[in-house]
């Protein structure tokens, strides 16, 4: 049998297509150079990435965002992959992120928050006629993170 991961509909297919579509939106944003060229789908996928990273922060030990109420976890409209992925330990294996983390004294949470902010700033209305420029450094790191996770999800598809 020749495995065809792309044609898989198994349990990891949702995660794979989620990450793959985010990766595509990042690549389009990097190629475009500014937010002006983005389509609605790109914006939605970049927002999904921002939520994904934000969920990684709220899973931190002692995170203030953790709710013990079941109501918070029911009827989620977006697929949620945060609970299954230990982002903190996974990112240690992404050299682009790790090197960037070590380049300053700021900690993991601050750096991750900076990546999240880079997405929200890029997507927020600029208030003038000029579109926002793509934050290349942050988006390249984001792309490295997504591709690392994507590579694992693809292996799981086989």
């Amino acid at each position: 049998m020749i495995p065809n991961a792309v044609a898989s509909t198994g349990p990891y297919a949702g995660l794979w297509s989620h990450l793959k579509s985010i990766n595509h939106a990042l690549e389009r944003a990097l190629a475009a150079g500014s937010s002006k060229e983005l389509a609605e789908l790109d914006i939605d996928r970049l927002r999904a990435l921002s939520e994904f990273l934000d969920g990684g922060l709220s899973s931190a030990p002692g995170a203030s965002g953790l709710s013990t109420s079941l109501v918070e976890y029911s009827n989620l409209t977006e697929p949620d992959y945060n609970a299954a992925i230990d982002l903190r330990s996974r990112l240690a294996y992404v050299p682009e992120f790790d090197n960037w983390l070590k380049s300053s004294k700021k900690g993991f949470d601050t750096k991750l928050q900076r990546l999240i902010a880079s997405i929200s700033n890029f997507l927020s209305p600029s208030g003038d006629l000029l579109a926002r420029e793509t934050p290349h450094q942050e988006f390249e790191i984001l792309r490295a993170i997504v591709q690392s996770l994507l590579s694992e999800a693809e292996t799981a598809l086989h």
């Binding site: 792309v6 044609a7 898989s8 509909t9 349990p11 990891y12 297919a13 949702g14 995660l15 794979w16 297509s17 989620h18 793959k20 579509s21 990766n23 595509h24 939106a25 389009r28 389509a39 609605e40 789908l41 790109d42 914006i43 939605d44 996928r45 709220s58 899973s59 931190a60 030990p61 002692g62 995170a63 953790l66 013990t68 109420s69 079941l70 109501v71 976890y73 029911s74 009827n75 989620l76 977006e78 697929p79 949620d80 992959y81 945060n82 609970a83 299954a84 992925i85 230990d86 903190r88 999800a153 799981a156």
Partner: protein, 471 residues
Amino acid sequence: MDFDVDQPAAVLSKSLSLIEKTDLRLHQLDRWQFPTSSSELGRELFLSALASVREPAHLGPMDPVVLYNRLFSLQELAGIIERSSTDRISWPLVRYCDEIWSNFFGENGPKIFYALTPEYNYSILHFSKRLADILRDILPDSAIQALVSNRELYCLQLASSEDENLPLYANIGHEFGHAVFDHHEKAIVSELDAKVGQVLVRVLSDLQAIDATQASRRFRRICQAVLGIGEELFCDLLGALLMGPAFFLSLFEFSWGQARDVWTIRLSPEFQNIRAYPSFGFRLHCISQWAKIEGFRSEASSEAAKSITQKVAELAVGVGTIPVNHNSDVLRVWPASDNDAEPIRDVLNPRLNELKIALGEYLHECDGFVRKWYSTKPFSDVSVYDVAELLLRLERNIPPNIVPDNTLLGKPAEFTAILNASALFRLDLLTGEGSGDGGERLRQTGIVERLTAKAFEATFIQREFNRWAGQ
């Protein structure tokens, strides 16, 4: 041709061909073969989704490879629509189901269509939600909303490998429970939270003691599992209220050959796909209360019931032997390869009894909710005497569709009374004398299936006639 450049275009081309092929397949379906008009809603919704995907403005920003992958998931939904055919789906059954559905949701609520599944089990699929989930990575949210807004649709999938086991229709009540749960999710989950909340706080503390760095994440997965267990038990409650002892017997039959003392949690990379189930022992214990098994048994042993047929009392004794013990329950978490499986198992197992008590209290509250929400709808107890009268007919190979009422015609039997009589009679056949003779058993159970199907149809038509005639 340069595949460094052309590969995405080639994948897009393959995807567009697949869309055309799927579109053609669905257009070729004969709408007159659909069991109800709601199947057409499913087809229209699906075809609208394909049309939206094909729009050039949507195709541009899409990753062709993601599109190709999502099309395989869409094929599964297309297959469900294709399996929605009157060939093997009984018309009276879907009319009964539609009647129950409209009691729950009215004319303006979500709709339901019916299809076969090659699986052994019955299941309900939130069709429009599943479609939206599949499209999320290829269409913008606004396009998905425009597509599914005011088109909420479910699909009840009937087990084709069990389509000659009519008593298992009792499971349909449980499946409808999932839609009722969705409809009242906030109120039900609030109640679940109120009852199990303290147990969960202790579970979080236990998780932190094992590994504080992973506790929050693992706790969220446990919450999803508890939500799943709460939903399953709610659906059992509804199944018991709607179908009575037949649902109890049906769940018991599902448990054959399996461990009845194991609670399971199946972890998944996607939070919403974590699945969790209580043990059969605990479920049967809960259902026996809500289906009033003890009351049914004692009434069936009364002289009045025995005067109709001794059979009803004999069968009631048999029902009493069904095990509902859950004292030795344990919880297992799968897959073992998931690093969270073991710690989740280790913190939940010692708290299983606390959890069961809290879940029992939650079900009592849900019973009150359901009766309040649907106060005018029939959750009537199954009449032992009606069941006894129908058993008498089954013993003589007469369709169990009429209950004597001192008139020449008698009254048409209720759907649940037929279902219960048939379920009891069939189980008696499977366990009775000569049960080792496969050929004879096939013949006898075949007769019961046909008599039951005939009774569903006849009683339904008689009720429709009575309504039309103004009786």
